[in-house]
């Protein structure tokens, strides 16, 4: 008589001991809880203004606006990256050829960020100037273009004006908490009007009229960066992002 014995299966995992099961379950639950506590990840576009042949404003001494905005871009990346922000910069170095504002807007509109920050600096005024587009905001939902309608290039920001104003307000509150003077205003500053996302221009001025050189102070810059990071975190908490890229609208080059 032939007796067939089943082959021993080497692929079958060994059953875990009850204490190990408990530990694994605890770790799994802790990881889940940690993930639930984390704020939702949003993508922020940073646009250090000017660059290349366009030096921007001549700040104190030999400091140029294009260099200061690039430095702020690096500081902001370092402050925001650990806080679950996805970051895109329009430039990470000084380009050798002109880098037009339309090119920056194209990068922003392709990547569908949750917020766009255009970084500027000036030697006039004091504190921080937060500027939103001067385009009129849609009065009612009916004024909004249909989801598949082309958006005029020069008015791409129009539908995002309410969100941009909220973003500017949150950043302004955070800067005031950091005891940095802040002014909220509106203007027609390229490429703000062409951006299809909540967008503000942040212009950094000296801390006070009597200290024009303070704009180059690393401690002052770091205070600004930390306040902006706090403002963005607050904005993210109060305005949960929709799924990035959900809007099928893409700004087109339609002329007015």
């Amino acid at each position: 008589m032939i007796t067939v014995t089943p082959l021993k299966s080497y692929n079958q995992p060994k059953a875990l001991n009850p204490p190990l099961k408990l530990i694994a379950a605890t770790i799994f639950l802790a990881a889940l809880a940690l993930k639930a506590q984390q704020p939702p990840r949003i993508v922020v576009l940073l646009d250090p203004a000017h660059g290349g042949p366009d030096a921007g404003a001549h700040l104190s001494g030999t400091l140029l606006e294009k260099d200061l905005t690039l430095s702020l871009n690096s500081r902001l990346r370092a402050a925001l990256a650990p806080n679950n922000f996805g970051l895109i910069s329009t430039r990470d170095s000084d380009p050798t050829v002109p880098f037009l504002t339309d090119q920056r807007a194209e990068i922003a509109n392709r990547t569908h960020p949750a917020a766009c920050l255009t970084l500027h600096a000036t030697s006039s005024g004091r504190g921080i100037h937060i500027v939103t587009s001067a385009l009129p905001a849609p009065r009612e939902a009916a004024d909004l273009p249909s989801p598949h309608a082309p958006i005029p290039w020069d008015a791409a920001q129009s539908a995002s004006i309410p969100q941009s104003l909220r973003l500017a307000n949150e950043l302004g509150v955070a800067l005031l908490h950091a005891r940095i003077p802040v002014l909220l205003t509106q203007g027609s500053i390229p490429p703000l009007d062409n951006l299809n996302c909540p967008a503000v221009a942040i212009e950094i001025a000296p801390l006070s009229f009597s200290k024009p050189a303070s704009i180059n102070d690393a401690a002052y810059q770091q205070r600004i960066v930390q306040a902006i990071a706090a403002g963005l975190s607050s904005w993210r908490a109060h305005n949960p992002p929709v799924v990035p890229g959900a809007s099928p609208n893409t700004a087109t080059g339609a002329a007015h």
Binding site: H58, E65, N83, S124, A168, G172, T185, A229, H238
Partner: protein
Amino acid sequence: MIPRYQRIIFWSLVGGIALMAAFLLHGCQQAHKRLTALNDATPIAAPTNTNTEDVTLAVANDADASISPNADQVALPQDPSLRARALLDHLLSTYSLPGSAHPLQSGPAVDDVFLVNQSPAPNAAVVISDNAAPVPQSQLAIVNLHDSFVDRHPSGILTEALTIQSIIGTLHFAFPAIKQVRFLVNGQPHDTLAGHADLLRTYPAADTTSHPRPPQLPPDTPDATTDTSTDATHP
């Protein structure tokens, strides 16, 4: 006998004094040139007998980013284009006065202001009545700035935007028929005023009076910056 090291120190000090004297002299000359340029009072227009008029200027203030209406008295020519140019020249010259809240350098600012009549929209409804007042035709103002004004203008979003709003607001107060404003520099389109404010777009001529409010806490939270998801610290 004077030691060698003392002689070296002596002549080094003499050399330093000479250098400092030369530097001081050069600085004085530069300051004198600058002041002379500012005080250039050469008459460039023949005097005319014109009564002053009450005008309203939209005056900018850098400290609070505001535009405020300010009554003033100015002698203006009768021709609308010259009138607009003289008004803007007066406005911008006030910014070069000491203690200005929106400091700009003095010098020529506006070359011309062209007022272009705009035809009404073809599908616009027209109401004809015997006793109706004639509806003024809407106008487009084209402000041709001097290139030296653009070159001298301080670079910055806020200061440039305030200059533009001040010009537009002043034109709106004085010429209600102006509905739109465009800018040229030396007769050519120019991208920005001094690197920031857009000069290529057509601006609506409206009352630009504004007093920006400080940031407001969101109504649903007592403190907008208490988010614990960031390690940002406030002093």
